[in-house]
């Protein structure tokens, strides 16, 4: 099922902090009219990205609104005009071929691009190679972040040229000569599509990797593609690699030449509670309620709504939460799933070792779990490498005793962080 467009919601809610780093600074005022694609908030320094208007309309308010994580954050609220179309108009076309790496990075920042793989980390930061390092390979992460999600798959099929172009831009920005696109082997069509479009010079290649969550985790992917171990607690850059999600690069390829801003993204809307599941082009700022109604999940009276995938996604508290740059999927579970979940009885750890076998980081969740139970958080950090846990949730997934392992680990990390801070 190809990607479908989703109409504008009457009101668009655009948090100024949709990315890791400093929030953007508004450049418009309440009551002002905006045009789709127009800059409405500028980047506040290097570790920040600008924001663009998703639709023609008028700035109705700038106020605090609930965010997915719970706390209320500063948002620009835009009332979209009925007449607004979804064509890309505003934007100063540029000739990418003649840009220097620095200029390319600047262009990337200007599009407001962040990692669409989930972390929403400013792409230009990631692509800025530190002086002391030299990056050898650009890894393009074509794994589907999590079960249920299909957006990356669709984009690889439908935006193949953009993907290739975007990859080239990223390569220029980082000055790397080689890029590898890693795609899970359950998507042969995507692999074929990309193969057909690969440039002749062979700088870009595509490789199939085993379909096994969390294959898409940077460290895992780098391991399976290049057989490099990113040091515990380290960043990919330390082994001369930068990882970008296919979505990120495809969007770069699509937006950079026309000098457009990131104002919409592909989102997978699915789950048992959804009547018309699939991938949609969703304008940034569209409230959850609108998306659900459109996808036919509006009248589920009792449900769980998750931003992202089932393994790492975030349950949202309010239907007014908007779609932001980091949202790759919306998952809706209905009553039955919830009850099935709540019926599960929690037993003590029976040392079955499943979690140890499954942990991609080679940790010992069983031990960590028992330590957490005994509130021995220091030991967890000091002797059992809690810090290396990237919360993939595999341990909780398999635990026959239904112990909320990763959940406990988050708490423990939080507490340790607070202690470290204090």
């Amino acid at each position: 099922m190809p990607i479908r467009r989703m109409p504008f919601a009457p009101r668009m809610i655009l948090p100024l902090a949709q990315h890791i780093g400093k929030p953007a600074v508004p450049t418009v005022s309440v009551g002002q009219e905006v045009v789709r694609g127009q800059l409405i908030a500028r980047a506040d320094g290097f570790m920040s990205v600008p924001l663009h208007a998703p639709a023609d309309g008028v700035v109705e308010a700038m106020e605090l609104r609930p965010s997915a994580r719970g706390p209320w954050t500063e948002c620009i609220v835009i009332r979209a005009y009925e007449a607004s179309t979804q064509a890309l108009r505003v934007g100063a076309a540029r000739d990418m071929e003649r840009l220097s790496p620095e200029q390319t990075l600047q262009a990337i920042q200007d599009t407001g691009m962040v990692g669409l793989g989930g972390a929403a980390f400013p792409s230009h930061v990631k692509l800025t190679v530190p002086k002391d390092r030299n990056i050898g390979t650009l890894v393009v992460n074509g794994c589907e972040c999590e079960p249920f999600l299909t957006c990356d798959h669709r984009m690889m099929l439908e935006l193949t040229d953009d993907l290739i172009a975007g990859t080239r831009y990223a390569m220029r920005a980082t000055r790397v000569g080689r890029a590898v696109i890693g795609v899970e082997d359950n998507k042969p069509d995507a692999i074929a599509a990309i193969q057909a479009r690969l440039p002749a010079d062979g700088a870009i290649s595509v490789a199939a990797v085993e379909t096994k969550y969390p294959q898409g985790a940077e460290k895992m992917l780098i391991k399976s593609l290049l057989d490099l171990d990113v040091p515990a607690g380290g960043l990919p850059a330390q082994v001369g690699v930068v990882v970008n999600n296919v979505g990120t690069l495809a969007m770069l390829g699509r937006l950079l030449p026309g000098g457009h801003g990131l104002i919409e993204r592909v989102v997978t809307v699915t789950g048992p509670g959804v009547a018309r599941p699939g991938d949609y082009w969703v304008p940034l700022g569209t409230p959850m309620r609108h998306v659900l109604d459109w996808a036919g999940a509006g009248d589920v009276s009792e449900r769980e709504i998750i931003l992202g995938g089932p393994m790492m996604g975030q349950a949202v508290a309010s239907l007014d939460v908007p779609v932001t740059k980091g949202v790759s999927g919306i998952l809706v579970f209905d009553r039955n799933d919830i009850e099935a979940e709540s019926r599960r009885k929690i037993y003590p750890c029976i040392k079955c070792g499943e979690c140890v076998n499954v942990c991609p980081m080679g940790l010992n969740p069983s031990m960590l779990g028992m330590l957490a139970g005994a509130r021995e958080y220091e030991a967890m950090g000091a002797h059992y490498h809690l810090g290396d846990c990237f919360e993939c949730g595999c341990c909780t997934y398999v635990c026959p005793s239904n112990i909320p392992l990763v959940q406990q680990f988050r708490v423990a990390k939080g507490l340790l962080r607070e202690q470290a801070a204090a």
């Binding site: 003590p348 028992m370 330590l371 005994a374 021995e376």
Partner: protein
Amino acid sequence: MAPESLAQIFLGAVLANNFVLAMFLGLCPFLGVSNRLATAAPMGAATTFVMLVASLCAYGLNWLVIHFNIEFLRLISYIVVIASAVQLVEMVTKKYSPALFRALGIYLPLITTNCAVLGVALFQTARDYSFMQAITFALGGGAGFSLALLLMAGLRERLNLASVPNVVQGTALTLMLAGSLSLVFMGFAGMGAGE
């Protein structure tokens, strides 16, 4: 001269007649210091060493008391000499090998003369072991003590994380574990017998 072979003596003292679990020697340190793995190993090493010292002293003293026909001074001489010998060793290590002292030294006073240590002396005398037999016995006893200590420490560390009922906490728990281990070690009874 007892009939057992050196192998039988050693294996016996380690397994079937484990000093702690079957002969009930050195229980107080066993119950007291077996809660952490980190301390178990050095504690075992120190004890083994002291037992060796005790065994040597006892062998010599026994010869003396028999030779001069003053058996009634045996016990008193054992205890005094062993105690002072250990203190001597302690001072010497402290002076010449601080590293070793830090590793074992702190435990020495704890075990200067516990049942395991004096026990080696008394049992080797009662069974009139030859010199080699005595030393083997002491080493085996030490090894057995260390093994029991390590196992117990491992189990207790794991149980610290389990939800053990309040009533069972403390010494009662340790004793139950010791009893179970003692059951397990019965399985080695008769090792090398009959041959």
